[in-house]
Every structure is written in structure tokens, then in C-alpha cells.
């Protein structure tokens, strides 16, 4: 290996590292950044300045580079954490890229301006790393580290949470998970890794100037990811080798020459971007295809869980026949949580008074009151049905009491504790979770991942725990998956645990959504039209499943249109019209009132 080849290898290793870390952000978390080059630059400048001006040792300088890049990205991501996404995020990161790159040029006193400054070469234990050949092993080690961190995070519970945020952030919050910190962290980690490579590269190039960290490089890194396949690390490695290895060839083409090779390279990866987006947006390797899935196939990891018979195609997996007697045989399903941490029952608050109490709840949109002064209570271990014509405000009540919407007035109590206005993830953590009419499952994730994400108290969702106590995180993850498997057995879907949700029938998706809801271990479950859109043939199975949730000690409130379903399920029925409760009682009480029947069926 000569220095020329070694130099190219180092450059490709840098591209792989920058691409892999950005892919964590783009592929897993579904966020976007046009500023990867500038975080790489922030790392290089930080390490260089710390070494030159403050005399830091190489190790300390590089740690400093990581920290500074991490913090600056965390701050930049503040708007993203506040649910700014899509075009705003592109604009914000694009502007950051250009402005910081320009500051590198302008802050002459600090950065040396357009001409940059020089950095000493790296010396570790008296050994010098100067020539490219000497430096290749170091850069390879750095690249390996970045790949391991990216892969480790991607495959951890935290990675699963990120994928959930990518698929449907609202649904993640409804499961009791805070998404704000996770988003800030993933921006920080991505930038931290870019900063690390930046620091390492500063000691290699021994010269830092703004031109290296320009927008073109950011676009180049994005092209690498897109070429390889968004969300696919193997693809990123291949993409970096293809696009990064191109220039040495271009340089030796006669009519191009060294001078124009950058422009030609840009034309080629620009064209690659256009053509890929037009004809193959998933890139060379689609998500989930690569060394990881190969390894799983060879090692047979998918068979580590008990598998029950796969239900016949098209049929909704039945919950019948399991209703009797086997509750306690299921692993880790908590039955009832009275007196659990933080939700102490208030003295004298009898079960009949309602585990959930709603007082004078109101919400208007524009001039129209969707909910107008509703008082309601959900009795413990019972099923309460909310019925009424379309637009009566039933789903709005769910949105108001779970914190998706803020009420204009009124209060909500859970076990005597006021939860009015608390955000959805906190409400879910306190023990009240809701399902969505259109399931809002994470479509590109497997059935098992969907359910596992809902399991509370996962240390692996915390990056610090993941890094500091990796073995405990792994052990707890096995426990989480076992729990999730238990829920899947309950709905008799264990055989499809590794199937992607998007490949399931709609009836099956509705059932998985119930399992996911159950997995939150919430004692109060709000079901928004659990039977809508499913095949009438399997309706009874769904009814049996909901009854089974009740048998498991859950308190349930269901919004439902079918009176047949309501009569089978509900202990107590609440009738709503125009945002108000106009009648309450058993289904027989209500159907004996001709006026209500007319309101309900009249339209």
C-alpha cells in the first residue's frame, strides 16, 4: 500500500463514518440534516484550536471536538424537538451549514480565515502518525467505532423508539414515551460522531480551512446515503466506496484532469441523486437488507421466541378459548395497578365514583363547540361506551383527556389526581392510554417491535444507560421482548411476530393495535372504534378480545357506532349529542327512549 492509495482509503473511511452517523438521523429517526459537513468541520476546528491554542493532548482535543459538536447540534435541534420538521428542518440545517461555514471564513482571529491554520501531527506514546500509510489503521479504528455506535444504537430499544418517531410521533407519545429528548439526543449523537471524525481528520490533514466543510460535502454525504439506501448501513458503506472512490478515476481521465475532477464528481453524484429519486428512491439496498438481516438469518435469532400456530389467512386471530383461567399464566401482564407508584388512590374515592372523572370539559374550534360542558366518570373494571351521532364530540373527548388537545375549560382526574393539560406521554405514563381509530401502527416495523415499543420502563431507551450499563440493557431488552411476545400470544399473533405491520390485513392490524395498547400496562384503556373497518365475520373475536381486557382488570372506555357491539360490551352507556351528554344508563335504558333512537338513526 502506498501513500496515494492510503490517502484515498482514509478519505473513503471518513465518508463512511459521516454517512453512517447521518444515516442514524435520516434512516432511523426520520429527521433530516443538510449540515453534516459543518459538524465535521466543527469537530476539526475544535480539536485543532484546542490543541494549538490551549495545548490539549490529542485525546482531550478529540473529546472536546465530540462535546462541542454534540452540544451545538443539540441547540440547533431545539426547533426540531418542538415538532418542527420537514421543510423547516431542511431550511434550518441548510442555513446553519452555510452560516457556520462562512463564520469559519470570517472569524479570522480565531480560525485564520480562508487560509485556515495548521495542526501538529498526532503522537501517541511517542509514536508519530504522519504519513497516510501510518494513519490508515487509526482512521479505520475510528470508522469502526462510528459504525459500531451507529449499529448499536440503531438496534437498541432507543433505536426502536427513533424508528417509532419516524413512523408516527403522535403514536409514540400516546404510548407514554417522551420524544423531545430522544430527538435532541439523536441530533447530538449524529453530530458528535461527525465531530469525532472531524477531530481525527484534523490530525491527519494537519491543516484546517473552511473550503473543506462546505455545502457540497453535505450534499455529497446525503448522496452517499441515498445511493446506498436510507436506513441501511451496509448500503452507506457501499455508497461511500462507490462515490468516494470515483475521483481518483476521474483525475486520470484526460479531458477532465485534476482541476475539474471535483466538478465532474459533483455532476455524477448530483445526477445520481436525481435519477435515484426519480426511479429508485429506496436506493441500492432497501432498509432491512444487509449484513444485519443476513446475520439474523444465519444465526437463527428469529427462532429464539416461542411460536404458536399461524392463524388461517384472512381470519382475525381469535381471543376465544383463552378467556378462561389462563390470565395468570401469561408472563408479566400486570392485573390492576391500584396503589402503584405515583397513582395512589384517594381515600374515600370509591370504585363507583369512577377511576377517571371528567368535570365540565369544553373545547371549541372556531365558533363551534365540539365538546361543551361534559361531566363523565369511568367506573373501575367496567366498560363504558360513548355513543352518539357523528360530530357529537366523542373522539374529541379522548383527545382532551389524553392531552392531545388542551381543553378550554374543565378538569380531568385519574384516580383522584388531576391530569388536565398534561402532555400525552405523561398521561399514558400515569396509567391512561388510548388507541386510534386508524390504528396508527408503525407500519414499517414488525409486529413484535410495535408491541415492544409500548412496554414501559425500558432502560435501553436511555442512551446513557445503553452506554454505561450495556449488559443490563441487553438483559432488560430480552425481558421486554418476552413481555411483548406474551401479549402477542394473548392475541394469537405470535406466529407473525416478525412480519411487518404493513403486510398484515386490516383486521389483524386492529388486533395488534390492541396488543400494543395493552403493553403500555395502563389501567385505563380508551378504545376509539375498535371494530370499525373490520370484517363482520371476525367481529365477535374482537368483542371477545375487548371483554378479555376487562377480565384482565382494565378499565375501558370505548367509542363505538355499532349498537350490536355496544350491547355486547358495555356495562354503562353514555349518549352524546352536539358536544353534550344527554343520556346515560344501560343500553336497554337508552334504546327504550324513542327520541335517542331517532337522533342516532335519524340522520
Amino acid at each position: 500500500m502506498n501513500d496515494y492509495v492510503a490517502d484515498i482509503i482514509i478519505l473513503i473511511l471518513i465518508y463512511i463514518s459521516l454517512g453512517a452517523s447521518l444515516n442514524l438521523l435520516m434512516g432511523y429517526a426520520g429527521q433530516f440534516s443538510m449540515a453534516q459537513a459543518v459538524f465535521y468541520g466543527i469537530g476539526a476546528y475544535s480539536a485543532g484550536l484546542l490543541a494549538v491554542n490551549l495545548g490539549f493532548s490529542p485525546l482531550l482535543s478529540i473529546i472536546g471536538a465530540i462535546v462541542i459538536a454534540f452540544i451545538s447540534a443539540g441547540i440547533l435541534a431545539l426547533p426540531a424537538a418542538k415538532r418542527v420538521s420537514g421543510e423547516y428542518l431542511i431550511l434550518l440545517t441548510l442555513a446553519f451549514q452555510i452560516v457556520v461555514n462562512q463564520l469559519m471564513n470570517s472569524m479570522r482571529d480565531l480560525t485564520g480565515g480562508p487560509y485556515g491554520f495548521t495542526v501538529p501531527w498526532l503522537t501517541i506514546f511517542g509514536r508519530d502518525f504522519i504519513t497516510p500509510v501510518e494513519y490508515v489503521p487509526l482512521m479505520a479504528l475510528g470508522c469502526l467505532l462510528v459504525l459500531l455506535v451507529t449499529w448499536g444504537i440503531g438496534e437498541s430499544p432507543f433505536g426502536r423508539l427513533l424508528k417509532g418517531i419516524r413512523e408516527d410521533e403522535t403514536a409514540v407519545r400516546a404510548l407514554g414515551k417522551n420524544t423531545v429528548v430522544s430527538k435532541l439526543l439523536v441530533f447530538g449523537i449524529t453530530a458528535g460522531m461527525a465531530g469525532f471524525i472531524g477531530g481525527l481528520s484534523a490530525y491527519y490533514y494537519q491543516y484546517i480551512a473552511p473550503g473543506t466543510y462546505n455545502l457540497d460535502l453535505s450534499i455529497f454525504i446525503v448522496s452517499i446515503i441515498v445511493l446506498g439506501g436510507i436506513g441501511n448501513l451496509t448500503g452507506t458503506i457501499i455508497g461511500a466506496i462507490i462515490l468516494g472512490g470515483m475521483r481518483p478515476f476521474l483525475q486520470n481521465v484526460d479531458f477532465i484532469g485534476d482541476e475539474n475532477s471535483y466538478s465532474w464528481q459533483a455532476i455524477i453524484y448530483g445526477m445520481a441523486l436525481i435519477l435515484l429519486m426519480m426511479f429508485r428512491p429506496e436506493g441500492l439496498l432497501p432498509e432491512g437488507m444487509g449484513f444485519g438481516s443476513l446475520w439474523r438469518r444465519i444465526s437463527g435469532r428469529t427462532n429464539a421466541f416461542p411460536i404458536v400456530a399461524i392463524p388461517p389467512p384472512g381470519a382475525l386471530p381469535t381471543a376465544k378459548g383463552r378467556v378462561r383461567g389462563d390470565e395468570l399464566a401469561l408472563p408479566n401482564i400486570v392485573v390492576g395497578r391500584a396503589g402503584d407508584a405515583g397513582v395512589a388512590p384517594t381515600a374515600g374515592f370509591a370504585a363507583t365514583a369512577g377511576i377517571v372523572r371528567i368535570e365540565d370539559l369544553a373545547k371549541h374550534f372556531g365558533g363551534i363547540y365540539a365538546v361543551n360542558g361534559v361531566d363523565l366518570s369511568l367506573r373501575e373494571h367496567q366498560i363504558t361506551a360513548l355513543i352518539g351521532p357523528n360530530g357529537a364530540g366523542k373522539t374529541t373527548i379522548f383527545n382532551l383527556i389524553t392531552g392531545v388537545l388542551k381543553p378550554d375549560r374543565g378538569r380531568v382526574f385519574l384516580r383522584g389526581q388531576e391530569i388536565t393539560g398534561k402532555p400525552p406521554d405523561e398521561v399514558a405514563k400515569l396509567g391512561m392510554a388510548r388507541s386510534f381509530q386508524d390504528t396508527r401502527l408503525f407500519r414499517r416495523l414488525t409486529v413484535l417491535e410495535n408491541v415492544a415499543m409500548a412496554v414501559p420502563h425500558q432502560p435501553g431507551e436511555n442512551v446513557a444507560a445503553l452506554a454505561l450499563r450495556p449488559f443490563r440493557s441487553r438483559r432488560m431488552e430480552a425481558e421486554t421482548l418476552a413481555k411483548a411476545m406474551g401479549y402477542l400470544e394473548l392475541i394469537e399473533m405470535a406466529g407473525k411476530a416478525h412480519e411487518r405491520v404493513a403486510n398484515l390485513g386490516y383486521g389483524e392490524q386492529k388486533v395488534v393495535a390492541i396488543a400494543r395498547l395493552l403493553a403500555t400496562e395502563s389501567e385505563v384503556l380508551l378504545l376509539d372504534e375498535p371494530t370499525s373497518g373490520i370484517d363482520p365475520a371476525v367481529l365477535d373475536d374482537m368483542i371477545a378480545l375487548v371483554l378479555r381486557l376487562k377480565a384482565l382488570g382494565r378499565t375501558i372506555c370505548v367509542v363505538e357506532h355499532s349498537l350490536h357491539v355496544v350491547s355486547q360490551l358495555a356495562d354503562h352507556v353514555v349518549f352524546m349529542e352536539d358536544g353534550r351528554v344527554t343520556a346515560e344508563g344501560t343500553i336497554a335504558d337508552l334504546t327504550s327512549q324513542p327520541r335517542l333512537v331517532e337522533v342516532y338513526f335519524g340522520t
Binding site: 418542538k82 421543510e87 452555510i98 471564513n105 470570517s106 465532474w264 459533483a266 448530483g270 441523486l273
Partner: protein, 315 residues
């Protein structure tokens, strides 16, 4: 990677007095910076409107707008300097190039992608690819160096001690006239109302018989025409280089998001505000740091008012 051969100043300031280092603010400096701010603000307003009409209708983050801007300028330079065309013809040639390039992007890239129901991110990435292909191609053909139009005469006027050039005045007048005409077009003509219908709800517009494809083409043409105008106004008093489009287009984009993405007057106002802010920041900051001001405004607005300055609060 090598250092880029040139690092253009992204936010050029007009005949710039130096920023003051004392605490006493010189009123004359403020007045001059204010006038400069109006000029730059008018430039940004026109760019913002040109992007705003495309974005609010097609919802594509059309970054290749920067390429349109650059191509208009280079086309005019080629016509004037290499083919020897008179100024008016060169400018016309530049506008024509912008319009054709815009229409080709819609027909050759965005429309086929829409047919394949590409995501908005995919369309942005394609647009990104195109913008880098365009600037690199121009660099190969014309070289990285600055070019300029020859034979453009310019007069300088004095209002007291404040200076302003004829081209500055042209920029203000032409810019706001174009914006006013666009608003008139949107409100008074059948096509304008059709654009508004598509902006509000493309599906409903389709249902009442509006050809959405044609409207998308129309807004790409209008937007490209307007950005071409802005580019040519800039060109007459300045130099051109392959990556010249990016910075002004980016500021135009920011202006659109500040003003609220659905409002054309909002975009114009956003541009004016950014122009004034960058210019007046010169009271305290050196010119190189004006871009930080723009970014700071964007960041603060996104944190505290994500729907933009004039946008409606999300329900």
C-alpha cells in the same frame, strides 16, 4: 477535498460604510444603512415571492431555484459578452433561459416524480441534485472566476450624504412593480384564481375541472421568470460566479418561511424585513456577520413561532 477557489461573500452590502465601534450611533450611517436595507430588502422580497408562489402551490422545496437564478445571469452574460447582443436583448435572453429551465424542470423532473407519487423529501433531494449538477456544469464550462456584464452604465445620486445608484432604484421599482403585478394577476385573472384554488386544495381544484398539472407548470414559469428578473437586476451592478444563486435563494426561502408559507404578501414582507435586518445590523456588526443575523432570526422564529410571523397559529 480542496479549498474552494473562491469563497464569495454571501451577503454583499452596498457601498458599505464601516460599522461603528463606538457606542454613539451615527445617524447618517443609520440612514445610509436603511436605504441599503430597502434595496437589499426589495431584492430579497422579489426572490421570496418567486419561490413562495412555487412552494405554496406545489409544496416542493425547490432548491434548484438557485440554478435558475444562476442560469439567467450566465445566459445574459453569454449573450452580451460573447454574442455581442445589446443589453435589452441580453436581458431578454436571460429571462427566456430562466423560464425555459423552470419549465423543463417541471416537465422533465417534478411531473414524472409526481406521477410515481414520490415523497416531498425525494423531490427535494432531486432538486438538490439538480442544483449541484447545474453549478458544477457552469463551473466546468465558464470556469470558477467572476464574470460581469460589460457596458452597463450606472449613475450615483446623493440624497444629502446618502448615496444610491440608478440600478438600486431600478431594483426597488422593478421589484415591487413585479410583485404588485403578480398579486393583481392572482386576484383578477382566471388563471390567477385557478392558482389560488390549487394552492388552497389541489383535490377540490381538480374536481372542479382545473388541470393541476398545467397550474404547476404555470407557477414554475412565473416563479422562474421572477427569479430571473431578480438575477438580472443583480447582475447589472455585480459579478456572476457558478455558485452565486445559493445565498440569495436561501435568504428568499427563509423570508417565505418567516412570512408564513401561504401568503405572497407575507413572503415579500419577510424579504424586506430580512434585507433591513442584515443591513441595519451593520451598525454593530462587520459585514461578514450579516448572515448570522438572518440565521438568528430564522432560529428564533422557528423556536417560538413555527408557523411564521404572519401565519395562523396551528389548531
Amino acid at each position: 477535498m480542496q479549498a474552494s477557489p473562491l469563497q464569495p461573500t454571501l451577503f454583499p452590502r452596498l457601498s458599505g460604510p464601516q460599522h461603528s465601534t463606538s457606542l454613539v450611533i451615527d445617524p447618517q450611517l443609520v440612514a445610509q444603512l436603511f436605504v441599503s436595507g430597502i434595496v437589499i430588502g426589495s431584492r430579497y422580497a422579489l426572490i421570496a415571492v418567486s419561490f413562495g408562489i412555487i412552494y405554496s402551490t406545489t409544496r416542493i422545496f425547490h432548491l434548484a431555484h438557485a440554478a435558475t437564478y444562476t442560469i439567467a445571469a450566465y445566459a445574459a452574460v453569454v449573450a452580451a459578452n460573447m454574442l455581442g447582443a445589446p443589453l435589452w436583448l441580453s436581458l431578454l435572453f436571460g429571462l427566456l433561459a430562466a423560464v425555459i429551465f423552470g419549465a423543463l424542470m417541471e416537465l422533465g423532473m417534478y411531473r414524472p416524480m409526481r406521477r410515481r407519487s414520490a415523497t416531498k423529501l425525494a423531490m427535494f433531494l432531486a432538486s438538490l441534485g439538480l442544483s449541484i449538477v447545474a453549478s458544477s456544469s457552469i463551473q466546468i464550462i465558464f470556469g470558477p472566476q467572476n464574470l460581469s456584464l460589460q457596458r452597463v452604465s450606472n449613475a450615483t445620486y446623493f440624497l444629502g450624504n446618502i448615496t444610491i445608484t440608478a440600478l438600486n432604484i431600478a431594483e426597488i421599482v422593478v421589484g415591487w412593480t413585479a410583485i404588485a403585478l403578480l398579486l393583481l394577476f392572482m386576484r383578477r385573472t382566471q388563471y390567477g384564481r385557478a392558482i389560488n384554488a390549487v394552492r388552497t386544495n389541489a383535490q377540490v381544484a381538480m374536481a372542479v375541472g382545473i388541470s393541476v398539472d398545467r397550474i404547476y407548470l404555470l407557477v414554475m414559469v412565473i416563479g422562474s421568470l421572477l427569479v430571473g428578473m431578480s438575477s438580472l437586476l443583480f447582475l447589472m451592478g455585480n459579478v456572476v460566479f457558478p455558485t452565486m444563486g445559493l445565498a440569495p435563494i436561501l435568504v428568499g426561502f427563509i423570508a417565505v418561511f418567516l412570512g408564513g408559507t401561504d401568503s405572497i404578501p407575507g413572503a415579500a414582507l419577510g424579504g424586506l424585513v430580512l434585507g433591513l435586518a442584515t443591513s441595519l445590523s451593520g451598525i454593530w456588526l462587520a459585514g461578514d456577520f450579516a448572515s448570522v443575523v438572518v440565521f438568528g432570526i430564522l432560529f428564533i422564529v422557528l423556536v417560538f413561532r413555527p408557523q411564521g410571523l404572519l401565519g395562523k397559529a396551528a389548531v
